[in-house]
């Protein structure tokens, strides 16, 4: 559901205002951002507004589309149905049937914004219902861990979508067109007003990037998400006296200190895209370790029960210099 919500956000930011100085929208960047070039160009000759939106909103054959994300969420919920509250299940079901029924007319300019708003709202409704109805046991902590890892990852993608604009001259106030685009990025992350509270004067690209990465109070910043994952993991371990996962806590701790130690200028200097790529790989390693430690995926082949010590896994990636 986080993924569906964030896809809607990314498409929205491109749709509403991500025009470059010639007035063209760059739809290819969305494809690149998701690493889907190969699959996309197998189906479509070029990245136009129609093809990209069709591919990412309503194409059930594309595993990275909104409809696929919601189908997967619903399929997972079906598997975990005994743990999921009835309200959550019903809302997800209704939403699933809704996205399956998305017709071509709704993808047209003029209707798309309303559809995307509806998708975002349904995802947020789900989050709220989960907050209000989900039984608080181990599953709840894992739900929170999963949600925040996904959210951190998606924030990095949202930022990456516009990284190419930052490749030059990021210290200075950007020209008006670009300012519009950064507004759009912030709004699509529901961060525009929060950003204004922190920076009431200048909107520079560097400040936006810094806000989305490091702000300790913004619910979608990478820093806050990592901190939430840490909290949930340590509560999970102490409450349910689970062994293992110490290496995950260390990795999270390390990631958090990287996020506090580096200044945005240093990062922009060495390349924002490289830094984002590093964060994404780091999150994948953490996810893999969680799976191996608590769900025994790595040990499953050997037929041993889970819950043992963490197995040797790929080490956390090195920071780009």
């Amino acid at each position: 559901m986080e993924r569906a919500e964030n896809l809607a956000r990314i498409i929205e930011v491109n749709e509403t205002s991500a025009r470059d100085r010639t007035g063209n929208q760059n739809w290819l960047s969305i494809v690149q951002l998701n690493g889907d070039e190969a699959r996309f160009f197998e189906k479509h000759a070029s990245a136009t507004v129609e093809t990209v939106i069709g591919f990412y909103v309503a194409d059930a054959e594309n595993p990275t589309s909104i409809v696929s994300a919601v189908s997967n969420a619903r399929e997972n919920a079906r598997t975990l149905r005994p743990l999921v509250s009835t309200e959550m299940w019903v809302q997800l079901n209704v939403f699933y049937n809704r996205v399956k029924a998305i017709g071509p007319a709704e993808l047209m300019p003029g209707s798309l914004a309303r559809l995307l708003a509806e998708i975002k709202e349904a995802c947020q409704t789900f989050t709220g219902m989960t907050e209000g109805t989900f039984y608080r046991d181990q599953a709840w902590y894992f739900y929170r861990i999963g949600r925040y890892i996904e959210r951190a990852d998606q924030t990095t993608r949202l930022l990456d979508a516009k990284y190419h604009l930052l490749t030059r001259d990021s210290d200075h106030a950007a020209p008006a067109v670009e300012i519009g685009q950064w507004h759009a990025v912030l709004r699509s992350a529901s961060g525009y007003h929060a950003f204004r509270r922190v920076h009431s004067s200048d909107l520079t690209p560097a400040r936006v990037a810094s806000f989305l990465l490091f702000n300790p109070g913004f619910p979608r910043s990478v820093y806050l998400c990592v901190r939430e994952v840490e909290t949930a993991l340590s509560e999970l371990k102490s409450r349910y006296r689970l062994h293992g996962g110490n290496d995950i806590s260390e990795a999270l701790d390390q990631l958090r200190s990287i996020l506090t130690a580096r200044s945005i200028d240093e990062i922009l200097e060495s390349g924002l895209h490289e830094f984002i790529d590093f964060l994404q790989r780091y999150l994948i390693v953490i996810t893999d370790r969680l799976s191996a430690t608590f769900f025994g995926y790595a040990q499953a082949e050997k037929g041993e029960p889970p819950g043992g010590v963490g197995s040797p896994l790929e080490p956390a990636p090195e920071m780009p210099s």
Binding site: E75, R78, T79, R81, P82, T86, W89, V90, N93, V94, N97, Q138, Y240, R241, L242, F294, F295, G296, P305, P306, G307
Partner: protein
């Protein structure tokens, strides 16, 4: 003029559940005041709720997953308190006899030695489990959950058509149908003394506790499902939630030193009782089908060692065999010394020479069923079959007579049913559910299945059947 629900309704000569029941007067009066259009509108809303609530079974193919619902007909089927007492007593008698039969077949086999049942019919039966010989089963309750299929013919007599003593399904629809009914038609229910059915999960848990291995203070119960690709997965989820027990698949369980454990993120957790919705064949690849990926290796050893209870017990399939069914009246008399309270449908066992001859002579009037199948598959309905179908059936009967039984074609009773905005008569059957731990309890209600296609006698959900809410009255209206 506004058309009302029962305006012009004609049961076309069949026994009608609604018109023939004196206890249904109140319901009939209410229905006669509701316009069909209004009824249809609310029925559609109820059907939409089935999708919203995900009360669906999913049909998977290579590329897609299609959600189907069991269609819900909003006109309830009513059973009077008087008739219910008869059904309830009949079901208890039947389940008691089934359990006594199974206990005997896996121990002394007196019924075979006394010449009541042919030995090869039971011991030679594919569903007889020799490994269960001499195994003690708590309370001698083999069939903990039983679904008894009951039909009514032209005379209105309730008759048992089939016993489902393996892993009967459908109870989730009984309870969900009631919820739908109460939400969509509260005014129809208001003031009618309906027997409640929502304690099924509590009763089931209580029975599971009763069959737990001796010395188990607070047994850990789980529900074992084949997983999300099973068409009854919705029901497995439903029951696990109603029981408040974990829903598990084979891979979630592990056997160590003949004890069963549940894998949890905190380590292994001992399991005492398994309500399994997996057939015997797939339970344990070490004991039965080695290719089963659904089961738990070593489960059978743990079970035979008495370290875990299974519901239903292993080996109940021999008792709900359609050929054994034909002997049920004799079995009831043999073990209980009573006449059956619910008669069987007259059945010809084609393994017997005379019965085969009769069947072949009367093929066009009879229903021929394979003994080992479920779900309405492989049935030939004589009066509805084409010449070619009858010939095919004749050939099968001659090649493998022991695999078939035949029964007269019963004119199943009908109930008014809403189809495409019209109310017409449709054939129905009835499946009450009995739970047995130390004692047998029958849910006061059951699954009324309805053949939605006009004239069709096949009520199975896999073949165009729907279902109705079944109302059992607490007491009948006086006078």
């Amino acid at each position: 003029m506004t058309r009302l629900v029962l305006d012009g309704y004609d049961p076309q000569g069949f026994y009608c559940e609604m018109l023939r029941s004196p206890a249904a007067t109140g319901l009939r009066e209410r229905l006669s005041r509701v316009p069909v259009a209004e009824f249809q509108r609310r029925a559609l809303a109820a059907e939409q709720a089935l999708y919203d609530y995900g009360i669906t079974f999913t049909v998977y193919s290579e590329t897609s997953a299609i959600d189907r619902i069991l269609p819900f007909d909003p006109i309830p089927r009513l059973i009077s308190a008087k008739n219910w007492r008869r059904i309830e007593a009949g079901v208890v008698q039947r389940v008691t006899a089934l359990n006594l039969l199974l206990d005997d077949l896996y121990h002394a086999q007196k019924i075979v030695k006394d010449g009541i049942l042919p030995a090869d019919l039971v011991v030679g039966n594919a569903n007889y489990r020799p490994s269960m010989r001499g195994v003690a089963v708590a309370h001698k309750a083999y069939v903990n959950i039983c679904g008894t299929d009951i039909v009514r013919g032209a005379d209105g007599e309730f008759r048992v058509l089939e016993d489902n003593a393996r892993t009967p399904s459908g109870v989730s629809y009984v309870i969900e149908n009631r919820h739908l009914m109460l939400r969509a038609f509260p005014d129809l229910v208001d003031g009618i003394p309906l027997r409640p059915i929502d304690d099924y999960g509590w009763r089931l848990v209580a029975a599971m506790r009763e069959i737990a291995p001796a010395g188990c203070e607070d047994p850990q119960i789980v529900l074992l499902s084949p997983g999300i690709y099973n068409s009854a997965y919705f029901e497995h989820v439903f029951l696990a939630r109603e029981m408040g027990v974990p829903l598990v698949e084979g891979r979630d369980l592990v056997v160590d030193n003949d004890r069963v454990y549940l894998r949890t993120i905190g380590g292994l957790h001992r399991v005492d009782v398994i309500y399994r919705r997996i057939n015997d064949d797939f339970l344990d690849p070490k004991a039965f089908r080695p290719d089963s990926a659904l089961g738990v290796p070593g489960l059978m050893r743990a079970y035979l060692a008495g370290n875990v209870a299974l519901a239903n017990a292993v080996g109940t399939g021999v008792a709900d065999d359609k050929a054994v069914y034909a002997y049920m009246p004799k079995i009831i008399r043999y073990f209980l010394g009573e006449d059956p309270l619910l008669p069987n449908v007259e059945t010809h066992i084609c393994r017997e020479r005379e019965a085969l001859a009769y069947t072949l002579d009367h093929l066009a009037e009879l229903v021929v069923k394979p003994v080992g199948e479920a779900g309405g598959y492989g049935i030939t309905i004589g009066p509805r079959a084409s010449r070619a179908e009858l010939e095919a059936c004749r050939e099968q009967l001659i090649t493998d007579p022991a695999n078939y039984i035949s029964q007269p074609c019963i004119d199943l009773s009908v109930a008014p049913t809403l189809v495409d905005g019209e109310v017409g008569p449709r054939h129905v059957d009835f499946r009450p559910f009995a739970i047995t731990g130390a004692k047998t309890w029958v849910l006061p209600g059951g699954l009324t299945r309805v053949a939605l296609r006009q004239g069709s006698l096949v009520v199975n959900s896999s073949q165009g059947g729907g279902s109705k809410d079944t109302w059992v009255l607490e007491h009948d209206p006086s006078g």
